[in-house]
C-alpha cells in the first residue's frame, strides 16, 4: 500500500550564524512509502500525485527511529503500586530481594512488560535490545511474558538477551539459558564473571560455550571497576578472537573503561575495534565511560535506558534521548553540530547529517522508520527533548500523541 507523507521537515545542511554559531538548514519534503520502505523523496509540492493515502505532517521534523540498546522490561514495577527501593548492604542482599520479587511477580510479566514497551514507544523507541532474567526464581517466566508482550506490538523490532542476573555459574543457569535460547532468546547474556561468579575464566568460557552452541552473540553486563574489570575485558577479547566471533559481542556498561589510562584505553579500544566488539552505555552521571574517545578509536557506542523502575531503583523514564541529552550536558556539548551528532548514540549511529552537514538520512530504499516531533532540528531535539508526536515503523504509524 502506497502512502505519501507530506510536509515532512528534513535536515539538509549546516550554515554559519552570528556569534560563531552554527544553524541547521531544513526543508519540507514529501516522502512516498511503499512496502515499508521509502520509494520517493522530493521537496514538498513536487511529488507527482501517484495515488495512495496522504498523510500531512504539517512541517513536523522527522528523525530516525530511536533504538534502546539496553533495557530491562521484564522486571519493571510499572502498573503496580508505587515501590521505592529497599536499602541493602551489598549486591548479594540486593539479589536476594530481587529473587523474592521475581517469584512474586512471575505471573504479571506480560502486563508489566507491555507497560514498559508502551512507555518506550511513546518516547519514539521502535527497536530495542532487552535483557530478560533467566534464573532459578523466575525460570523462563520472564522470557515467556516479555516475548508475548513484545510480539503483541506491531512495529517493534527487538533482540532478546537471556540474562543470568544472579550469576551464570553462581546459580548454575546453563540449562535454563539453553532452554531460553530454544524458546526464542537471541543472545547469551552475562554479568560480572569476577564479581558475581568469582571465576572470570570459567564464567567467560561457559558463556562462550553456550553462545557457540547456538551460533549466537553475547551481550555481557560488566560493572566491575578498575583492573579486574579491564582484565575481564582482555579475557573476553581473547575468547572472541579464539572463537572467531567478530561483530557478535557487546559489553554493557564497561565501567572499568573509566579507570583505564590513555595507553590502556587505546589498546583496549583497538582490540574492540578489530574484534567488532560494541559498547553499550546507560550513561549514569557518576560513571561516565569515555564515549568520545571510544568513538574516535572506532568502537561502536550505543545507549540504553537500563532498568525502568524496578527493585534496583525507582527512576527511569524510558526515554533514551534523555540519556543523550545528559551525555551532552555532562560533556558541555551545547553547539549545534555536537548536539546533532550525539543523536547517533540513540539511533545505532544514524544521523540526518554528518559532521560536515552532508545529508545521510533518509535515503531512497531506507525503511520507513521515523519519529516525528515539533522541532526545528536534531540539535534542538537533543537539548530540549520535545514530546514525540508520532512514531512510524515500517511505514505504519505505531504511536500518536493524543495530548
Amino acid at each position: 500500500m502506497r502512502k505519501v507523507l507530506k510536509n515532512v521537515r528534513l535536515e539538509t545542511g549546516f550554515q554559519e550564524a552570528d556569534l560563531g554559531r552554527v544553524e541547521t538548514i531544513t526543508a519540507l519534503f514529501d516522502i512516498t512509502v511503499e512496502g515499508g520502505r521509502i520509494i520517493g523523496l522530493q521537496l514538498a509540492g513536487y511529488a507527482e500525485n501517484e495515488g495512495g493515502a496522504v498523510l500531512d505532517l504539517g512541517g513536523m521534523l522527522a528523525l530516525p527511529r530511536l533504538v534502546d540498546s539496553h533495557v530491562h522490561i521484564d522486571k519493571t514495577y510499572l502498573t503496580m503500586d508505587f515501590h521505592s527501593t529497599q536499602p541493602t548492604k551489598n549486591i548479594e542482599e540486593r539479589l536476594e530481594l530481587e529473587a523474592k520479587d521475581l517469584i512474586k511477580m512471575r505471573d504479571s510479566v506480560e502486563t508489566r512488560s507491555r507497560a514498559a514497551i508502551e512507555l518506550l514507544l511513546a518516547k519514539g523507541t521502535t527497536k530495542l535490545r532487552h535483557h530478560v532474567n533467566v534464573d532459578p526464581y523466575c525460570e523462563l517466566k520472564n522470557l515467556e511474558g516479555s516475548l508475548a508482550a513484545l510480539r503483541s506490538f506491531k512495529g517493534i523490532d527487538f533482540e532478546t538477551v537471556a540474562f543470568p542476573q544472579h550469576g551464570l555459574l553462581r546459580k548454575q543457569c546453563q540449562p535454563l539459558l539453553r532452554e531460553a535460547m530454544k524458546m526464542g532468546a537471541d543472545l547469551i547474556g552475562g554479568i560480572d564473571p569476577g564479581g558475581l561468579d568469582k571465576d572470570v575464566e570459567g564464567s567467560l568460557k561457559a558463556t562462550f560455550d553456550l553462545a557457540n552452541e547456538f551460533g549466537a552473540g553475547i551481550d555481557m553486563h560488566l560493572h566491575e571497576r578498575g583492573a579486574v574489570g579491564l582484565y575481564t575485558m582482555e579475557r573476553l577479547c581473547d575468547l572472541a578472537q579464539a572463537r572467531d566471533m567478530r561483530g557478535m559481542i557487546t559489553i554493557s556498561h564497561g565501567f572499568a573503561l573509566m579507570d583505564a589510562n590513555p595507553a590502556q584505553l587505546e589498546a583496549m579500544a583497538g582490540r574492540f575495534r578489530d574484534l567488532g566488539i560494541g559498547i553499550t552505555s546507560t550513561y549514569p552521571p557518576d560513571r561516565r565511560i569515555p564515549v568520545e574517545q571510544l568513538k574516535r578509536l572506532g568502537v561502536p557506542v550505543k545507549f540504553g535506558c537500563d532498568g525502568i523502575y524496578d527493585s534496583w531503583g525507582p527512576f527511569g523514564t524510558g526515554d533514551v534521548l534523555e540519556k543523550v541529552k545528559f551525555y551532552c550536558m555532562f560533556n558541555k556539548l551545547s553547539d549545534e553540530i555536537s548536539l546533532a551528532q550525539a543523536l547517533g548514540l540513540a539511533t545505532e549511529g544514524v544521523t540526518p547529517l554528518d559532521e560536515q552537514g552532508r545529508r545521510l538520512w533518509p535515503k531512497l530504499g531506507d525503511p520507513a522508520d521515523f519519529v516525528f516531533l515539533r522541532a526545528s532540528c536534531s540539535a534542538e531535539v537533543v537539548a530540549r527533548l520535545p514530546q514525540r508526536e508520532a512514531v512510524m515503523s515500517g511505514g505504519t504509524m505505531v504511536y500518536q500523541n493524543v495530548k
Partner: protein, 397 residues
Amino acid sequence: MQAYWLKNVRLEKGHKKNEGAVKTETEITNIKIVGDKFSEISASDPGEGIDCKGQLLLPSLRESHIHIDKTYFGGPWMSCAKGKDLFGRLEEEKTLLPELLPAMPERTRKIIELLIGKGHTHIQAQCNVDPIIGTQNYRCAKEILETYTDKLTYQLVAFPQHGLLRSNSLPYMRQAMEEGADVVGGVDPGLLDKDVKNSLRATFQLAAEYDRPVDIHLHEQNSLGLYSMNRICDMTEEYGWQGRVTIGSAVALSGIDPGSLQAISRRLSQLDITISSSVALESPIPIPYLDQAGVRVALGHDSLIDHFSCFGTGDTIEKLCNVASCFKMTDEVSLGQVMKYATGGITPLDADGNRRWPTSDDTASFMLVDASSSAELIARRKPITALYFKGRCVFHA
C-alpha cells in the same frame, strides 16, 4: 475573607515499616482554607467544597535562581557557539543583550508561566545590570513580575554579570537599588573582578547602604572558590548579614576534601548562608552533606536556554528526581525528604514520619499532584494537577 473546603484531599500521614521496607501512609481527608491560610483538617464531610478526588496535597515549589532576562526561551531554537569560555560568552553579550531586549517581555512572561505550571509560587530571579544594558532588563523584569503578584512572590536580583569592578557596574547597580531591586547580586570576585577583597567589599557596602540581601554566583573552582566563599563568610559576619546571603552554584564545594568541606559547612551553617544550586549531575556539590551540616540548600534552574547553555527545563520535580538519583536517595524516606530542597525546607513528613505540614496557620500555597506520596512524585515525576497560591488556585492542568 474567603473560606472554603478542599474535599477528598490526600495527606501524608506517616511511615509504615514492613520487613525492612518503608511505605508512606496517606489519608483522604478534608482541609479548610480561610483567607490565605490553612485553618483545619477534618475527616467528616464538610458538605460543600472543591473535590480533589484523592490528589495528594504538597507544598508549592520555590525556584531559587533563574535568569529571566537574556533568554531564548519561547523564541526560535538557538544552540550555543562552540568552544567559548566565560569571557567569550561575556563578549557575546555586548551585541546580544540589546538584540534580545525587544523580545524580553514575551519570553520572560513565558518563563514565569512555565514555572507556575511546574508548581512554583516563588521565584528568585536574576537580571543583568551592567554598562551594556544598564537597568533596562531589570526594569522590564520588574514590570512583568509585578503583574504576577497574585500568583507568586518573587525577589529580583540585580546581577552584575560582567563583574562589578571589572565592568564598572557599580553606578548601574546603585541605580537598580534606587529603582527597588530586592537583592544585590554578585559574581566571581576573583575570576572576573580579579580582586576578591574589594569586589566583595563593594557588594556588601551596597547591600548595607540599601539594606538588601546578597546573592553571589560563584563559579570559581576548588581552592579559589573556597577562598572566596570564606571571604564571603567574613563579610557576612562583619556586616551582620547572617541569614541574608546566598551563594549560587558554589562549584568549589564539589570534589572538595572532607576536612575543608566540614570547615566551610560549619561556617555556612553558623552564618545561615544559603547555597543555591542547579545541580550539575556530573560534578554535583554534596547537597545531602550540606543539609546534614545544617546548611540551607535551595535549587534553581539557572538558565533555561540562552547563549551559555541550552538544557534547562524549569521542571523542579525533574530536578529533585535527578538529585535523588545522583545521591542514590532511592528509599521511601530519602525520596520524600528530597522535596525540602525545593520548598524552603518544608516536607509533609519529617524523616521519622511525623506530620509537619500542613498545619493551621501555614500559608495555603500548595500543589495537588497525581501521586500516592512525595516519594512517588519525585521518583516517577508525576504530573502537577493544580497550584494554589495563598489560598487561591493559580493553575490547573
